[in-house]
Symmetry: C2
Subunit: 138 residues, 2 copies
DNA sequence: CTTGAAGGTGCGAACATCTCGCAATTAGCG
DNA sequence: CGCTAATTGCGAGATGTTCGCACCTTCAAG
């Protein structure tokens, strides 16, 4: 039973770079393209940044990874399987916390009912002040 | 009665560039730094982009304007008075809709109660698919 | 009204990110 | 094995934003 590789299943060629980019994203959890490249270089030093960008895009197109905006400008990538939480970004200390998507369920439903807007809560972070910073009142 | 200018009240010097940047932000609603610069150039052609960036930052520090991330990478600026709505960004057509912040009230309260996280819902857009695109199912 | 110090502006260079074109390489079908 | 199209590496280029520095303005003090 020739169980085809998950990349081949999606019509992609199986290149070492591609596999490494995918596993880097999986290992890193949240990662910028730069961080992915750095991780990949541990086992494949010659990989080019362009290749990382292109593979992230390709992998996103076939649904294996997704990107999220955590602020500033750059996107960060996740394995698609892990997108089960939303991101709480603290504007004071910069920390990124997680919360289950369920906390947004009512909000999402309201937007759907009132505006017909289908929300993907994981795509943008939720911005604010984390508990620690709010307490310290820096 | 010498009502001091709003900029002077906040300890800022009154320069033509500064005033123009502020009024451009007010007139434009949502605007990228580039758009602000373009608007300002209508009455003050020589203004430098750096000056726009610096003034946006300065005005933000004193609370007259705020920036929001609507996606991609760049920030967009608002007059602080107008930040009474959240932004619904459609990933399909790119449109930016508004919704009153009240729709997020429960969500914000949940995050505060369960995580101690004080949310600023206006800072990041809410990403998803707008009613039109969802209907067309493009 | 003058004047000096601090703040602000313009300009160009430097970055940081990300995209693209192109030639060389490689996966995978037949 | 041999071909073709997909993929990679590389360098150049497009953006978007920041920074240093010399010159210019604001404004308060005299």
């Amino acid at each position: 039973m020739a169980e085809p590789h998950e990349l081949r299943q999606r019509g992609l060629r199986l290149t070492p770079q591609r596999e490494l980019v995918l596993s880097a994203v999986r290992e890193l959890g949240h990662a910028t393209p730069e961080e992915v490249a750095e991780r990949v270089r541990q086992s494949h030093p010659g990989i080019n940044l362009s290749t990382v960008y292109r593979n992230l895009e390709t992998l996103e197109n076939v649904g294996l990874v997704q990107h999220t905006h955590l602020g500033h400008g750059g996107a960060t990538y996740h394995a698609a399987e892990e997108l089960t939480h939303l991101h709480l970004v603290c504007g004071t200390c910069g920390s990124v916390g997680d919360a289950p998507i369920e906390v947004a369920a009512n909000f999402v439903n309201s937007l759907a009912d009132d505006y017909g807007f289908k929300t993907d809560v994981t795509h943008f972070a939720v911005y604010g002040t984390c508990a620690d910073c709010a307490r310290d009142d820096i």
